[in-house]
Amino acid sequence: MSWWTDLADALSRIGILVFPGSNCDRDCHHVVEQIMGAQAEFIWHKEALLPQLDAVLIPGGFSYGDYLRTGAIARFSPVMAAVTRFAEAGGLVLGICNGFQILLEAGLLPGAMLRNRSLSFICRDVHVRVENRATPFTGRCKPGQVLKLPIAHADGNYYTDPATLSSLKAGNQVVLRYCATDGQVTPAANPNGSLDSIAGITNAAGNVFGLMPHPERSAEALLGNEDGRLILLSLLDSIKSGRFSPKPVMAS
């Protein structure tokens, strides 16, 4: 009993959701274990309950093939009800790419995704400016820091109504904006036509974060880019601070 509790105390435990069609789940598993030094656990979409976790990561991919609208079917998976309860209890949730799209569809974040302005899939490095470093996901960044991160999506053109946009801005919920190498937010530096160049947002409480770029693809020197580590390690700091542990939820 005691050695097990010690081990559990030592290692942060991050759940990685696996939907049919998730394809960045193994990449996330790799960075959680190798870069964050945390314990990664795959969570099957049919699970109605989450094990005890310090954070939930929703990886990229094409959940259910994304034949209808990205994330539109995944939100009905049993696991999403559990994730919603986890988020409502204050637990940390990070959605990357398709994970962001699913969070939007599930209503855990406001807004929706349209097809990219070019109507094509785009895979390349982009630059994003950190607009808010006072979040559990950006604590290691400097104010206004420009990160180079890769994107890979066909539907990353963020949209929401003017009222929601104003409240996002008022609440400092816009965390990342697409920008040029020098940090200027310009139309030319916006790869997909996103409203207000939005690349990542949090919910009002700040514990749920969705972003289109892939920090897990840019966290290793061997792959040529380590900027993504800042986001992953910020999340780890927040877990370790203990300030974001979800309030206990009664198992039903």
């Binding site: 094409f62 093939g65 094509s120 899939f121 785009i122 892939h214 061997l222 792959l223 040529g224």
Partner: protein, 759 residues
């Protein structure tokens, strides 16, 4: 009753039909005729090529599985193997570009994961007619989005490949897809139906009426009516394939399978008879148990359907329940549809009534083999005749360089590969755009390099040399990234083999590949032949595409093509000759596709590659780039302009260079734009020059220090035999970069502009 017309409609000759009657000892029924027609089609039986493919060397110290299985397998150490193959999907992609290309990707992925490997990379080798023709723009963009649509959803990165444009592909584009996977050496699965009594299971998509007779279509030439064949093209569903992939890999972990094979061309028929034939067994199938999409399908349709995303498995006795459970977890359809028998027959029943009964071996392996007549075509002499006196030396070499950088064949292919997810799986160290793509292997210090290459203009001018160059260039591309070539897969695209000139091309090309493989000690472990690439009697250029895999022992030693730092010495390894025949320069500037292709001296090639590998292993090489289309000037420009974002990227790009070439009596255009083989441009820290020179002398490779990396311009001077140097190329890298990176996009988006670009 089988009539002469029915036999002809099935693409079988009278003699072939008589052979079927002899094999069966009776007339076949319609279902059996259909089964023979697909299995004995050129596409499935290799009846015109088998005799010649035997010349290819297939053995080597690290070969685990050579040709004859779903894919080739080579040992890469650490208990791991690389599994790879390349295949064509030319005909379907011309009829329906998106689905044709997508299902080509789906098929090659299945060939690799059916062996127990998780696919880690895709490449594509594409050829189209020029983009000023709207039909070609439609085909090209359709194919690219089809590849993207399938590969991206599967989560397998498309990390590179090649794209060529030439009028000859106007009515017959080529779409060849390559897939590489990694498996544990002790967990390789083969397509064998061993163990009499073992259950046979069908898993994956339900069977529909799509793609019936796809293999027969792919074994015929095209005419005006070809687009009416659209219903023979299958429709892909990458989501189902992703589930099928995960279900199969989980089944393979559980040790419940005896054998497994994908249902590709000729679907249920080919998978069952090939699995039985390899194991020397038979299979009995019950069609009533086959999951199907629509009612009323006949045995003929069920057996010949090419519905995608399906697999045939043979399970260990009593383990079928576990197979069904795992499939259920992944929401993949699965059913027991038969069992392995000992009598060697593929016996097909429909609700207990036998509807076909054919010896499995006869279907899979006893197709007639042809050694068709071969003769050099009468036009060959004209093609090879080129009098250089008729070609004026260019006065404005800057304009020629710009024309070449804007030629869609040479131009930067960002428009293509930005539509492909080339980073998923987080292994891509060298992204598309360098000589080879490099992928690290997690859990080891190693990396694999992959490339696909062929210059078909060389091949039409001289099939033997052209095919040899394809092998040499693929190996050179791997070596430039620091990888030791392990093995290759080939995808041999040719015209109608019933024409003696096409057979002549084919035989010479195979010999060219074989000789280059022997010299470079690179075995062939898998491959594919695509004949009948002709429309209205016009054949494509012979296009034997080579896909090659190499191993880098220390991943962090990988090298890319872009220059790295100011002050580095620019060094040419290898010799420049008067090699203008078949060059992109002659084609794009002088509108001639003529001459003899560059000579290939295999001894020199071997020495060059050994030298570069040794220099890279010693950490002496900062960048390395093969001289290919466009010659030395284009290679130097690409070294300046290449900034693959990665660990190996130049810090600030584009970087300029100032170099001087010695004329040695050669023409200006030969020096700058000639395509002499066995040449690699490297850049080295100038302190290492002495060491690299000593290595070159020891290896008997000619080395010339051309100049230095520096500034923001590319300057190339030529020093004549009196020692006087003149500047012939001087352009800001920024300007060249805009031309090179923008050419493909502008050819697609404002096609008129690109028409008038030739100098």
């Amino acid at each position: 009753m089988i009539t002469k017309e029915l036999v002809a409609q099935h693409g079988l000759t009278d003699e072939e039909y008589q052979k079927i009657v002899a094999v069966l000892g009776r007339e076949p029924n319609l279902t059996e005729l259909g089964m023979f027609s697909v299995m004995w089609s050129e596409h499935c039986s290799y009846k015109s090529s088998r005799a010649f493919l035997k010349k290819l060397p297939t053995e080597g110290p690290h070969v685990v599985q050579g040709p004859g299985e779903n894919a080739g397998v080579v040992d890469i150490g650490d208990g791991l193997v690389a599994v790879f193959k390349m295949e064509s999907h030319n005909h379907p992609s011309f009829i329906e570009p998106y689905q044709g290309a997508a299902t080509g990707v789906g098929g090659i992925l299945r060939d690799v994961f059916t062996m127990g490997a998780r696919p880690i990379a895709l490449l594509n080798s594409l050829r189209f007619g020029p983009l000023n023709n709207p039909k070609n723009r439609y085909l090209f963009s359709g194919v690219v989005s089809g590849i993207a649509g399938y590969g991206n959803c599967m989560g397998v990165p498309t990390v590179g490949g090649e794209v060529y444009f030439n009028e000859i592909y106007n009515h017959n584009p080529l779409v060849n897809a390559f897939c590489l996977g990694i498996a544990r050496k002790d967990r390789i699965f083969l397509g064998r139906a061993a163990g009499v009594g073992n259950p046979v299971l069908y898993i994956g998509s339900k069977t529909g009426r799509d793609g019936i007779h796809g293999a027969t279509m792919a074994s015929d030439s095209f005419d005006e009516g070809s687009e009416s064949k659209r219903p023979t093209v299958q429709v892909g569903d990458p989501f189902t394939e992703k589930l099928l992939l995960e279900a199969c890999l989980e089944l393979m972990e559980k040790d419940v399978l005896v054998g497994i094979q994908d249902m590709g061309a000729a679907g249920l028929t080919s998978s069952s008879c090939e699995m039985a034939s390899r194991a020397g067994t038979g299979i009995e199938l019950e069609l009533a148990d086959v999951p199907r999409r629509e009612p009323g399908m006949t045995p003929y349709e069920l057996l010949l359907s090419e519905s995608q995303e399906r697999m045939l498995l043979v399970a260990k006795p009593g383990r079928e329940g576990e197979v069904l459970d795992i499939c259920k977890k992944w929401d993949v359809d699965a059913a027991v549809v038969g069992r392995v028998t000992g009598d060697g027959f593929l016996r097909v029943k429909d609700k207990g009534v036998v509807v076909a009964e054919v010896p499995a071996r006869a279907l899979a392996d006893d197709a007639p083999k042809y050694e068709r007549p071969a003769a050099a075509p009468p036009y060959q002499d004209h093609l090879q005749s080129l009098s250089l006196e008729l070609i004026p030396e260019p006065a404005d070499c800057n304009a020629v360089l710009e024309t070449l950088l804007a030629s869609p064949t040479i131009a930067h292919k960002g428009w293509v590969f930005e539509q492909y997810d080339h980073m998923v799986q987080t292994n891509t160290m060298l992204r598309p755009g360098s000589d080879a793509a490099v992928l690290r292997i997690k859990g080891t210090d190693k990396a694999l390099a992959v490339t696909a290459d062929c210059n078909s203009l060389y091949c039409v001018l001289n099939p033997y040399i052209g095919a040899g160059i394809a092998v040499a260039e693929a190996a050179r591309n791997l070596v430039c990234s620091g990888a030791r070539p392990l093995a290759l897969t080939d995808c041999l695209n040719f015209g109608n083999p019933e024409r003696p000139d096409i057979m002549w091309q084919f035989i010479l090309a195979v010999e060219g590949i074989a000789d280059a493989c022997k010299a470079l000690k690179i075995p062939v472990v898998s491959g594919n032949v695509s004949f009948y690439n002709e429309t209205r009697g016009l054949s494509i250029y012979p296009t034997p595409v080579i896909g090659m895999v190499g191993l880098i022992e220390k991943a962090d030693r990988a090298v890319s093509q872009g220059f790295k730092a100011e002050g580095d010495a620019v060094v040419l390894l290898g010799e420049t000759g008067e090699d203008l025949g078949g060059t992109e320069y002659l084609r794009a500037v002088h509108h001639r596709e003529q001459g003899t292709p560059p000579m290939l001296n295999l001894d020199r090639e071997v020495a060059l590659q050994a030298l570069v590998l040794k220099a890279i292993e010693q950490g002496l090489v900062r960048s390395a780039h093969d001289c290919a289309e466009g010659g030395l000037a284009v290679a130097l420009a690409e070294c300046c302009l290449s900034a693959p974002s990665g660990p190996l990227a130049a810090p600030s790009c584009p970087l300029g260079a100032e170099v001087t070439l010695d004329a040695r009596g050669l023409r200006r255009d030969s020096l700058l734009f000639g395509e002499s083989q066995s040449r690699i441009v490297i850049s080295v820290n100038s302190n290492d020059l002495i060491t690299i020179k000593a290595l070159a002398i020891e290896s008997n490779v000619q080395l010339s220090v051309l100049g230095f990396v520096g500034g923001r311009k590319l300057t190339i001077s030529i020093r004549d035999d009196q020692g006087l140097a003149n500047v012939w190329i001087e352009r800001p890298c920024r300007d060249l970069d805009i031309i090179w990176r923008g050419a493909l996009r502008s050819a697609l988006e404002s096609p008129r502009e690109s028409e008038g670009r030739h100098a």
